[in-house]
Every structure is written in C-alpha cells, then in structure tokens.
Amino acid sequence: MQNILDVQNVEKYYGSKSSLTKALDHISFSVAEGEFTAIMGASGSGKTTLLNCIGTIDRVSAGTILIGGTDISHLKGGALNQFRREELGFIFQDFNLMDTLTAFENIALSLSIKKVPVAEIESRVKAIAAQLEITEILQKYPYQLSGGQKQRVAAARALVTNPKLVLADEPTGALDSKSAKMLLERLSYLNESIGATILMVTHDSFTASYAKRILFLKDGKLFHEIVRGSDTRKEFFDKIIDVVTLLGGDLSDAL
C-alpha cells in the first residue's frame, strides 16, 4: 500500500539560540493509505505541534513532511491554501462550526470553497450525512445540536471533500462518553467503508483504542508504537493501558 504521509526527521524548535526548546525531536514515521492512526501523549509532549506541522498550520524547523508525495514544507501562500483545501480535512476539539449556518450549509461550505459544481454539492452532502447518521438534523443550526451531533457534522465537513488525509485534534475532548463512542464508531466505519485515512491526536486511551495503530510521543520524541492487528478493541485497550502505565505518571493522570 502506498504511503499517504511521510514524516522524515522532523524537528521543531521554539525560542532563541540561548534558550532552545525542542518541541519535536527527530521524529520519523509514515502513514499508509486507509490507515486509522492515533498519536498519544501527555500535555506538552508535542502532539499538537506535530499535527499543526502536518496540517500546514505551522512550519517545521528541520526535516521534511511529504503528503501524497508533495513536500509541504516548501509550499507557500496561495499554494499552501490550495493544498490544505484540496488534500486535507480537519476535525477540531471545539467543532469550529459556523454558528450562522445550518448543518447542511456547514458541510456544503467546504465543497463550495473547493469550487465543486453546485449540482454535485447536494448529493455529496447527503451521502456523507447518511454515513454519519446526521440526515435528520441537516436543516438545524449548531446551537440546536448536541455536542456529539456537532462533532459528526464537523467530521462530515472534513470528509465530504474526499481528502487524502483527515487530521483530528482531540475530536472527543469536548464530548461525553456516549457521544464520543458514537463518533468514534462512525469514524472507524468510514475508515473501513470508504478507506478514509485518519490521523488523530488524543490523550484519551479509550478514544485511541478505536485506531488501528498508535504512536506514543514523550517530550517531543517517538517513544513507542503499537499495532492493533487482530486484537479486539477491548484487548487493544488493555495494551494501551499497559504502555501508558509504562510511560509513568505523566499520561496516567489523563485517563
């Protein structure tokens, strides 16, 4: 299978020469097409910085990031916007839905920004809405929706453009456990049914257990990696807990 994402020797520094903070320290990994990967780590481990660099929101200090073969560290201005628009989809912890637009319009917006013909928009929005089970609420406004519904609308918005890579930053951070479970089930369903490639950042073991592979980050370094393989989700969860315990108190208090 082809690699969608190639992270090679990425470093990210903050501060001046005299007091240097290494947020990312020689990180290398790749994500294959159709993979559902989670990145786990405590606060300050650099996981959000890594996601921002991959999502072209931030720039790396050294190393290269290839998405679908394109070196994004060399893209600038309009080309960067275009790349973000064409190839990436984002899901945020606080949903980031437009409060003046209906759910339908929120999803359609990412298509119209991409200049998708109007004739196509309706059918594509309806298709993705059916898969995320939000067809009934399409005409409602964000303030009329529950957190879980909002996050599924946000997921639909990220996925409707068929991005090469979906980046999710703590997608369950603002949800109760029932809504979180529902969202994650839909995400892994989409991962399997349409082969969406998802990279998710989380510090929650339960959320991470829905992924097929987990990268552990500590102090800006890649610390460990586990793959679900043929394990059930419960078995995989137990494995994660083991690693988290191994990592020490840092992450365990996030459980």
Binding site: N81, M98, T100, E105, L111, S112, K114, Y143, R157
Partner: protein
C-alpha cells in the same frame, strides 16, 4: 508608568480608533466652520438688509449648535463605548495582574483625553482651512463682492468649539469611569464567546408586514406628490414623514426576514464559493440592526432632501433675481383716490391734519424729489411712470364671479375682501417694453390677468377659461385670453405677482388711481457711476424716511433685492448644509461602528474559513460584499424616499419661486458620496485588518 502605558495603547490601536477619530475630527471641523460664519462673511459686501439676515443666521446657528452638540455628544459617547468593548480582554488582564480599578480608570482617562486633544487639534486645523474655502464658495455662490477677502480666523468659534467638545470629552471620561467601576472580571473575560442564535421570522408575517410597509410608503409618497393639491400646511408634511419612518422600519424588518429565504432558492449563486457564508452573515447583521438601519435610512433621506433643497435655493434665487430685476429702481407712492379720501375722512377727524395728509397723498413721485431738492431726470437715465387703480366695488370675491364658492372650498384663507389692483393696457405695455415681456392689446370690453405666481395661476386660469365677466367702473368686461399672461410689474426676488387686472385705458377712471410707480435705470456710464447713483438714492431715501414720507412711498432697488436675497439664500443654504452634514456624519458613523463591531465578533468565523482552506482574497471579497451591501441597503431606500421628498419640496418651493436643478442634485450626490464612501472605505479597511488577527 500609567501615562506610558496609555500612549503605547493608543499607538498600538490607532487604526482601531480610525472611525472614532474621523468622526471626532469631522464633528469638530463642521462645528467650527459653521460657528465661524459670522467672521467669514464679514468681508462680503453687504447692505443693511443682508447684515440683518446674517445677524439672524448667526443667532439661529448659535441655537442650533446646542442641539448639534447634543447629537455629536451622543455619537461620540456611543463610539467610545464601542471601542471599550473591543478592549475588554485587555482590562481583564490588568485586573488579573492586580491593577487597581483607579489605575485602569486613569489609563482610560489619559487615553480619552489624549485622543480628544489630538482630534480637537486636527479638527480645528481642518475647520480653519475649510472655512476659508467655504467663504470663497459662498461668495461665488451668491455673486458677492470678494474684493476685500482676507484670511479670517474666528476666535469666538475657536473657543466655543473647544468648550463644547471639552464638555463632550468630559462626559466620555465620566462614562469610562462608570464602566470601569461596574466592570466584573468574569464578564470581561467572557466577551465574544457567546454563540449566535439564528432567529427565523415567520415568513407569512414577513410578507404581511412587507406589504403593509410598502403600502404605507406608497400612501405617504402619494400624499406628498399627486395627492397634494391644496395649499401646504405644516401638518400635511409631518404625517407623511412619520408614515415614511414606520414604513421604512416595516420594510427593513420584513426584508431581513425573507431576504435569505429568497437568495437560498437560487442554489447556483447561494452555494458558490463563500456566498453561503456571505449572505448568512449579511442576513443576521440586517436582522439585528433593523432599528439602526431604519434610523440611518431616515437620516440619509433628511440629508439628501435638506442638502438638495439648500443647493436649489441658492441656484434658483440667483437665476430668479436676474430675471425678476430687469431695471435698477422701482419707486411706488400712494395717491389720492376716492377710496383714500374716504379712509382719510375716518382716520383724521381734525380738518388741519386731514389736509396735511391729503397734501402728501396728492404729490407725485417727481414732486417728492423736487421737495427734497433732487431731480428725478438727473438721477435716472430712462424711466417710465405708470399708475394702478382699484375700486371698492371690485374685490377678489367679485373677480371670481360665479366660481367664488368653488374656489373658497379649495382655498379657504384667501383675502376675499381685498380690492384688486388694475392697470391700463397702455401702462402695462410700457412696463412690458422695458422688462422685455409680452404685450397686451385690449378692446374696450376686454380684460386680462397678469400673473407669475405658480399657486395663483391655476385659480385665475379657471376663472378665465370659464369666461367670467367682471364689472369695473360701470363697464362689464369679458376675458380676452383663456389663460393668465405671464408677467410682472414690480422688482422682486421671487415670482410674487398673484394677479394684476389689465383693462383698456378707455375704461380706467382717474379718480380711482391709488398708486404711482416709477421704474428706471440709473444715469451711469460705468459700474463706478452706477454705484455712486445707488448710494445717492439710498441717501435720498434716508431723507424721505426722516421726513416721514415713507408710509406713503416704497423704494426698491435691484441691489437691495439682490443683497437681501443673498441674506435669505445664505441663511437657508448654511443651515441646510449644517444640519445635512451633521445628520450624514452621525448616521454614517453609527452604521460604520456597527459594521466594525460585527467584524470583531466574526474574527473566529474568518479564522475557521482559513482553516478550511479559503483564500485570503476570497475572505476579503466576502467582507467587501457584506459591508458594501450593508451600506447600500439604507442608501437605496433613502434615495427612493428622497425622489418623492424632493418632488414634494420642489412643489413647496415653487410657490417661493425656487426650482430644483440638475446641478443642485449633482452637488448633493457628490457631497453624500464623498462622506458615505469615505466612511465605507475606512470601515472596510479597518475590518480587513481585524479579521486578519487570530481570534
């Protein structure tokens, strides 16, 4: 330290303050310019009557300025309130750091005072400069003599401006202090994080209200145009204006409700690019701003109407005066007619007094001059003497004949008992010859009516076309023409001849001649001699007045009429400009501030769009569309209002001989566009900067 913090704050947010600053500077400048008019016009060559008019204008402006100061005061306090809101987080930070409220209040006060001083200085500078331009403009507009033009600076206006704006700034500082005193940390921290709820209005109600609003507007429009045939009274103006306000509000309320519903039906447009976002933003903006948009629309309407009326007034007056003063001098004196003899008998029971009065009445204009040791032939080159007649048996009521009841129903307040003035066709033709008017030839049994007033013309036309016969001096006459003859016999500033009856010279009875009139031009080769002759006549007039002859004699010169018209024109134009400018600045500034605060509340949305990959260019385009349409909506309806408003004021002014011209419309449009578009651009550029910031 606090001072340093304040200055740094101002520097940092100087562009946020742009609208506030522009409004303050414009307010100060306009305030100075109009209060400096007394000093500015002192160099204009003015006669006594103009000086009187100017004095009156200065008084009116002084009174009006208090009202204007209140309007500007409210505006400035409102604007500063808005700026404070933007900085809530900053104040929250100060409070978390443990700064005392007193210290925060001090920072704010220093900032307010610094900005106040800065804008006062800039405004006064602009005001002093622009008032020079203004006086040049005025002199040109009113064809006044500019030979004594000098750079003038009005210290009274200067200190008055400082005093008024000082008080306004003080009020702003007091409001700042109250705000700081009341501020709660939690509220400061949470500003801007509220999610907006989209309220949907009932579409049926929207349609009903729209039809109602449009109906009210149509009725108001009809009322001020075709529905208006009667003489205008003040109540007839106020009602349509009130209906216009209500109609405006209803239209905006309902349009904001179904605007989006309609646009979203056009899926091709609606789902193109950022249009979904743009229209949603716009619709929610219009929804929350219905009241202010309506107010702004009405203010714009007032501005357009007032400015165009003011500009028309001076254009028309100049044009009228040239046409209506074809000669230099118009002198009239009452004569001893049968009717006067009767009046005298009642007024002076004492024989000696009556005789003295009779003697004065019996004198001709030439006799009066001779008595003063002057010679009419020396003063005037070519002149004509004509006479007017009247009769106790021929009043306005008699003139209407069988139509009197019909006319009385339409115009209840005419002077029905007043004696109508008559002139022979021979005399009128001499006037017509001198004035360059159409001549009238009458048979012994014919009469005609000379008229140039717009209101009276249709009444007389009705009488004439009905073939009404009149009886004067024992003769029965019938009309020669179906319509009035357009003309006049007196020098005047406006079309004020409301009906002079012309009869054949064979019919006129010399015993009923009550008025003698001399019309002439000065004996003068050049302008200098002409001015000398004018001064000489004014001096004679002064002597005649001292000899108490004036109640019997009236003198009008072309120069007098022109300069007093400058007075009327200047008063109306200046007051119109003053009010118009202030309304325009206030309305537009409120709209600009609302639009700006909307941009601040929406920074998060723009950030979100950026994350979705929307380009900066398309974000700016969306912002431009939103704010452009927001500025356009009230303007469009205001222009529609104004079309009818101006037609109404045109009708009103026609009675005064003032006509709206294309030129005055163009001037109004230019003034409006410069200020309105200026505000729009400042708003757009500031907003562009605001949405670039991270939330």
């Amino acid at each position: 330290m606090l001072f340093k913090l304040s200055i740094k704050n101002i520097r940092k947010s100087i562009r946020d303050y742009a609208i506030y600053f522009v409004t303050l500077v414009l307010g100060v400048a306009v305030f100075y310019i109009f209060n400096a008019i007394e000093a500015q016009t002192s160099f204009l060559m003015v006669s006594d009557s103009t000086a009187e008019a100017l004095k009156m204008m200065v008084q009116v402006i002084t009174g009006l300025s208090v009202f204007i100061a209140f309007v500007l005061g409210f505006l400035i306090v409102y604007a500063s309130r808005f700026l404070m809101k933007r900085r809530n987080r900053e104040f929250a930070l100060y409070m978390i750091l443990g700064m005392r409220k007193g210290a925060i209040a001090a920072i704010l006060s220093i900032e307010s005072i610094a900005i106040g001083i800065l804008s006062l200085a800039a405004g006064l500078l602009i005001g002093i400069g622009a008032s020079q331009l203004m006086s040049t403009l005025v002199a040109q507009l009113f064809e006044a003599d500019m030979t004594r033009f000098a750079f003038t600076f009005s210290s009274s206006a200067f200190f008055k401006t400082i005093l008024y704006f000082g008080i306004i700034m003080l009020v702003v500082v007091i409001f700042d202090l109250i705000m700081v005193g009341r501020a709660k940390l939690i509220n400061l921290l949470q500003t801007g994080s509220r999610a907006e709820k989209v309220k949907m209005k009932n579409p049926v109600l929207c349609v009903v209200f729209f039809l109602l609003g449009a109906g009210i507007l149509a009725f108001a429009y009809w009322n001020v145009t075709s529905g208006l045939e009667k003489l205008v009274q003040i109540q007839t103006i106020l009602l349509p204006i009130f209906m216009g306000m209500v109609g405006t509000f209803l239209v905006f309320w309902s349009v904001s409700g179904f605007l989006l519903t309609i646009i979203s039906k056009f899926k091709k447009t609606y789902y193109k690019g950022l249009n979904t976002f743009t229209f949603r933003q716009l619709s929610s903006r219009v929804n929350t701003m219905v009241v202010s948009i309506s107010v702004i629309c009405v203010m714009l309407f007032f501005t357009i109407s007032i400015l165009s009326a003011a500009f028309s007034m001076r254009t028309s007056l100049n044009k009228n005066i040239r046409e209506l003063t074809p000669m230099d001098v118009d002198m009239e004196k009452y004569m001893l007619s049968e009717e006067v003899e009767q009046d005298l008998a009642e007024e002076f029971p004492d024989e000696a007094e009556r005789e003295a009065a009779r003697a004065i009445y019996a004198m001709s204009i030439g006799d009066v001059f001779q008595k003063e040791g002057e010679d009419l032939d020396q003063l005037l080159g070519d002149y004509i003497t004509v006479h007017y007649y009247d009769s106790a048996d021929f009043t306005m009521e008699d003139a209407f004949g069988s139509l009197v009841d019909e006319v009385r129903k339409e115009h209840p307040y005419l002077g029905y008992g007043s004696r109508q003035r008559l002139m022979t066709d021979a005399d009128y033709n001499r006037v017509a010859d001198a004035f360059g008017l159409e001549k009238i030839e009458l048979a012994a049994d014919e009469y005609a009516i000379v008229n140039n007033g717009d209101v009276s013309a249709p009444v007389w036309n009705l009488v004439l076309s009905n073939g009404e016969e009149i009886t004067v001096f024992g003769h029965t006459l019938h009309p020669k023409y179906l319509n009035v003859v357009n003309g006049f016999t007196r020098l005047a500033a406006t079309q004020e001849e409301t009906g002079l009856f012309i009869i054949s010279k064979d019919v006129a009875d010399p015993a009923h001649c009550f008025l003698e009139q001399v019309l002439g031009n000065y004996k003068a080769a050049d302008d200098k001699e002409r001015q000398a002759a004018e001064a000489h006549l004014q001096e004679i007039s002064q002597r005649i007045r001292e000899n108490e002859m004036l109640p019997f004699m009236r003198m009008n010169t072309r120069d007098d009429i022109r300069s007093s018209a400058v007075g009327i024109g200047a008063v109306v134009t200046f007051l119109g400009l003053y009010l118009g400018f202030v309304f325009l600045i206030s309305g537009t500034a409120i709209l600009a501030l609302k639009a700006l605060s909307d941009s601040i509340d929406s920074t998060g949305r723009y950030h979100m769009l950026r994350q979705l990959g929307a380009e900066e260019k398309s974000l700016n385009a969306s912002l431009f569309k939103q704010q452009g349409l927001l500025f356009l909506f009230p303007l469009i309806l205001a222009i529609v209002h104004s079309v009818f408003g101006i037609r109404f004021s045109a009708m009103l002014f026609n009675a005064l001989g003032v006509q709206h011209t294309v030129q005055s419309m163009a001037l109004t449009a230019a003034v409006l566009i410069v200020i309105y578009v200026g505000y729009f651009l400042v708003t757009y550029l500031s907003s562009k900067r605001i949405i670039k910031e991270a939330p």
